[in-house]
């Protein structure tokens, strides 16, 4: 149990597709659009590379929120990857919700390479939402916590 006096900050894992959302995150950087350092980005070639296992693993290891960003439907660099992502995550998130896990901890957002501002706004909003939920207690595996 942490006893530090610093205000609670959530741990957010963001999976970003290389072609749109990762570039969108870079654009947010280029334009110096701030968002909380709670967000840690993992680059994947396409949102469809994200296995539900990765998301569950992040939660298991103590992430408080996981967000998945990809190209807008119809704009996938690989034509159709994000359409599969959309189905997979719709079902996965619905299942997590069914298991009583706060639905606000997971999100899919379509962010194009041109949407630096959207990326920053999305991250700000997601961080705020997750922060208001507090620590992820339902999903984390206590053994993995130091």
């Amino acid at each position: 149990m942490s006893i530090s006096k610093e205000p609670y900050r959530p741990l957010i894992v963001a999976f970003c597709c290389n072609w749109c959302s990762y570039a969108g995150a870079d654009l947010a950087g280029n334009n110096r659009l701030a968002y909380p350092a709670d967000v840690k980005i993992i680059r994947v070639p396409c949102s469809c590379r994200v296995n539900p296992t990765f998301i569950l693993r992040a939660f298991q290891r103590g992430a408080d929120g996981v967000i998945l960003c990809g190209c807008h439907p119809g704009d996938c660099h690989y034509t159709s990857g994000n359409y599969y992502t959309r189905r997979r995550m719709a079902l996965l998130f619905s299942m997590l919700d069914y298991l009583g896990i706060e639905r606000e901890r997971t999100r899919v957002e379509w962010v194009s390479a041109a949407e630096g501002a959207k990326f920053a706004a999305t991250m700000n909003d997601f961080c705020e939402t997750v922060a208001s939920l507090g620590e992820n207690k339902r999903l984390e595996d206590l053994r993995c916590k130091k």
Binding site: R87, A90, F93, S94, M95, Y98, L99, E102, V108, R138
Partner: protein, 330 residues
Amino acid sequence: MQEITRDTLISRAKELLASGEVDRVYGWKRGEFCYDVTPALFTDAESLEKDFEWGDFCGANLSKYLVEETRKSEGKILVFMKPCDTYSFNQLLTEHRFDREKVYVIGTPCAGMLDPKRIRDHAESFTSVVSDENGVTVSTLFDGDVKLDRSEVMPDRCLNCKSKKHVAYDELFGEDGGTIASGRFDEVEKIEKMTPDERFEFWRGELSRCIRCNACRDVCPACTCEKCVFDNPNSGVENKAAENSFEEQMFHIIRAFHVAGRCTDCGECSRVCPQQIPLHLLNRKFIKDIDGFYGEYQAGAEVGSRAPLVDYTTEDIEPSDAVKGGDENA
């Protein structure tokens, strides 16, 4: 109409063996107790006569065993299938898991299996069970015979039977039925209507009982991977020790996700769970969502159908909208 009995099946199996049409028979065999029935392979008439079982406890879905069995030789295998088993059979064919030519399917009728756990609720220490249209008669060690209504002792999956129709067979015994509008999603809806906290507590209660015996996986006709991720140290999810609840949730979420869109809702997972965890409620949630989001889909209804997770439309529901149902009504 000819009545279908154990003998009917055995004699037909013997014919097929004798003619050389098939060289093996997959069926069920009785164990120590009447309800203790397991899948079994028969290669001759003698063992069929001796051990072959057909009745209220032949719930085991035999389709999964074909994956391994068909690879063993070029010969053909006779297999008996209840309506629900044929869906799994088709699903495996869709996934190219075995060669259809190597299997001879006899469709058998099904009035619903019986659940030994439920019988025990009404009749302790039972020794034998006889059933007919009028009901179920259970003989017990100490209380004599107990008459029960069939619906009192059927497992959930049979109470909510989705289909009496055989979607695959070479030969059919008895008359074929149709699909049934069952209330199989009622329980899912009940859970959906709970508050998130109630849902979490419900599932924590259920899943914390898991001893991670893997029976659900081992029996599942959709779980036929050459190597299961849960047995693979490189998969990142391999972990057999049951040390806390989330580990179990993770296992069950991943397992349910792996069979999402492929699960035929045969209910074997819940049947074999020694801890009586209602695992079918996870699978049915996916089925319900798939039906709701992408249109009705029954895995295994036809060979070669495109599973919802390997398909898409450009207008699919967004994940954010997908979880808007079943709101927190706390």
